[in-house]
């Protein structure tokens, strides 16, 4: 079953006279549970691709489908629902809500989804356990290390059981050990669930974890 389908997706950025084809007629399918890395030189369009998949931006042409549903024509609220229900994000900068504790950060998407209290609590604790942070539940982000923050972000992305997790260079700001730990956590979670993971990265160590490697160059897929 296809989680996400890009069909002939083109994204053009215009800056004054200069036109950049960040994505150039890209067609790509990702299946349930796939662990994919997106590699390519800087400026090749990896981030742009994730933005299209994550319902954060719309392409100039082509079709984006999530679980079979065309998401381009949806309005802002419906796209927000799509992100909430289908997609987990892991950012390069450990993007936690600074005034919320680790527990509250992980709980937040469950609250947004309307999961009831008991289940929410169980799920939150389960995820914090899975990323090895059950002893840091009530710490605020500024009381956690970078690696720990990133693991909270992973727990938060996975908590609502999304179909798809999009991660843009999740280890770029981590030291080798923390990066390895984060990758192992994600690999384990990927094995346990049906969730598909897509990483954009330059890091060859991440590529080593991937089952599928998609190579990009100048907005095109060059190797799959």
């Amino acid at each position: 079953m296809e989680v996400i389908q890009l069909e002939n997706v083109t994204k053009i950025y215009k800056l004054g006279e200069v036109e950049t084809r960040a994505l150039d007629d890209v067609t790509l399918n990702i299946k349930e549970g796939e662990f994919t890395t997106l590699v390519g030189p800087s400026g090749s369009g990896k981030t742009t691709m994730l933005q299209m998949m994550g319902c954060l931006d719309k392409p100039n042409s082509g079709v984006v489908k999530i679980n079979g549903q065309d998401v381009i024509r949806l309005n802002a609220n419906k796209r927000a629902d799509m992100r909430r229900d289908m997609i987990g994000f892991i950012f390069q900068f450990f993007a936690l809500v600074p005034v919320l504790t680790a527990y509250e950060n992980v709980e937040l998407p469950l609250l947004l989804k309307g999961v009831e209290k008991k289940e929410r609590h169980e799920r939150t604790m389960e995820m914090l356990n899975a990323v090895g942070l059950s002893d840091r539940v009530h710490h605020r982000p500024d009381q956690l290390s970078g690696g720990q923050q990133q693991r909270v972000a992973i727990a938060r992305a996975l908590a609502p059981e999304p179909s798809l997790v999009l991660a843009d260079e999740p280890t770029a700001n981590l030291d080798t050990a923390s990066g390895k730990q984060a990758m192992e956590v994600m690999q384990k979670l990927n094995e346990k669930t049906e969730t598909a993971f897509i990483f954009a990265t330059h890091d060859p160590r991440i590529v080593a974890y991937a089952k599928r490697v998609v190579k990009m160059q100048d907005g095109r897929l060059v190797n799959d």
Binding site: A80, M82, Q92, V99
Partner: protein
């Protein structure tokens, strides 16, 4: 979910403690300021009205129908013939505390080197209507009905003329048949009501002497009436209305003051609006700063699937917390100050001498619940309204920022 938004809003305010406290103080001080302004105005107007009723107009009056409006007349046809009889009848009414005939005339007081124009009151000296003057006596005695040459004058007038008790002055008073008559009178007592204009321009003499002096022969300008309940004025006035007689309530008699009040109110509404606007601008500014600082956070929330409406709610909650806390503190501060000023008053001194409305030398504030509530309500409402802008701004910004995070 709503409670989590509230938590985020609240913790964000705590995180920026200094800014939040500053904003809150601005709201509190702004509101306290307009509550104080309002308390002073209410107090001044109510005090002026009360003084006017006590000293000048009474709660109601009966006059001859032809008595001219806003002028004094001593023409017989403009006066009440059967003043004593009518006064006794009015005194018999259950709503009436006291009623007495009064005769008004214009007079000029001479000493060796001064001349002053005055309003002369011929009064029934035993009537409780003049209790306020009796209580305001500073030297000498109150006049009696059978006194044929005694007068009472105000302290300010006495000082101006350099005269004292038992001294003689020459008084010239207009008469019914035209040319003024002049006589020598003895100052029996001096009063000080605190209303400088009144104390400078008013003299009292016994009614019978005044009638004789002005050739009005037992007639009166008006029957002054004080009631147990001010609200009964309309009823009493309606009952007393009869052919040839006109009746007036304290509202009719203080038209000038009432219109001054209404015109003044429009001005103060503008003042309140300006203060409230300033307060709203402070809050809006704080929220905008808070939103700008947290663009990344807004982006994360949008990426997590938070809708524009929820992000707006979160920002508005900050404004509600700041606004409510500020308004509550403002009510407490403002009310405390107004209550304090209602006890101690503010000395305005000579200002009151220049205006012919009943301001005393001390102005007391007055705390009016309805006004405090409506000023607070408006402040809060305008704050919320202003906050819609930063909230809307945050909601628009969030999805764009979500892009920059990736």
């Amino acid at each position: 979910m709503l409670s989590k938004l509230l938590t985020i809003a609240y913790r964000d305010l705590i995180r920026n403690r200094r800014r939040s406290v500053f904003t809150l103080i601005a709201v509190a001080i702004g509101l306290a300021l307009i509550i104080t302004m309002n308390g002073l105005i209410e107090g001044a107007l109510e005090g002026a009205m009360r003084n006017n009723i006590r000293l000048k107009t009474g709660h109601a009056q009966v006059r001859a129908e032809s008595y001219p409006d806003g002028k004094l007349s001593l023409k017989w046809q403009d006066l009440i013939d059967n003043a004593d009889e009518l006064s006794a009848q009015v005194n018999g009414m259950s709503e009436v505390k006291a009623a007495a005939p009064v005769l008004w005339a214009t007079g000029i007081l001479y000493t060796i080197d001064e001349t002053v124009g005055l309003q002369v009151y011929g009064i029934e000296t035993t009537s409780p209507i003049y209790d306020p003057i009796r209580e305001a006596m500073v030297t000498g005695d109150f006049i009696t009905d059978d006194d044929r040459s005694g007068i009472l004058i105000g302290k300010r007038l006495a000082e101006q003329l350099g005269v004292g008790v038992e001294q003689k002055v020459s008084l010239s008073v207009g008469t019914a048949d035209g040319p003024p008559d002049e006589g020598i009178f003895t100052i029996r007592g001096i009063f000080s009501t605190g209303n400088l204009f009144y104390d400078e321009h008013t003299i009292f003499l016994p009614l019978s002497k005044a009638q004789a002096f002005t050739h009005t022969s037992g007639r009166a300008s008006s029957i002054m009436i004080m009631l147990h309940q001010q609200d009964d004025a309309d009823k009493v006035a309606a009952t007393l209305k009869s052919p040839g007689l006109a009746t007036f309530t304290w509202e009719d008699l203080n038209q000038l003051l009432l219109t001054t009040i209404q015109q003044g109110m429009a001005f103060y509404v503008i003042m309140y609006a300006i203060v409230i606007m300033v307060v709203a601008v402070v809050i809006v500014n704080t929220l905008l700063m808070s939103v700008f600082e947290r663009v990344r956070e807004m982006g994360i929330l949008a990426a997590l699937g938070m809708k524009g409406r929820q992000i707006m709610t979160m920002v508005l909650m900050e404004s509600v917390i700041l606004g409510l806390a500020g308004v509550v503190i403002g009510i407490i501060l403002g009310s405390a100050y107004v209550v304090y000023l209602s006890k101690t008053g503010i000395y305005i001194g000579e200002v009151s001498a220049s205006v012919d409305v009943g301001y005393g030398t001390v102005m007391y504030a007055r705390w009016v619940l309805a006004n405090v509530l409506s000023l607070s309500g408006w402040t809060f409402a305008i704050i919320l309204l202003g906050s819609l802008y930063p909230a809307w701004f945050a909601a628009r910004l969030a999805p764009v920022e979500a892009l920059h995070n990736l």
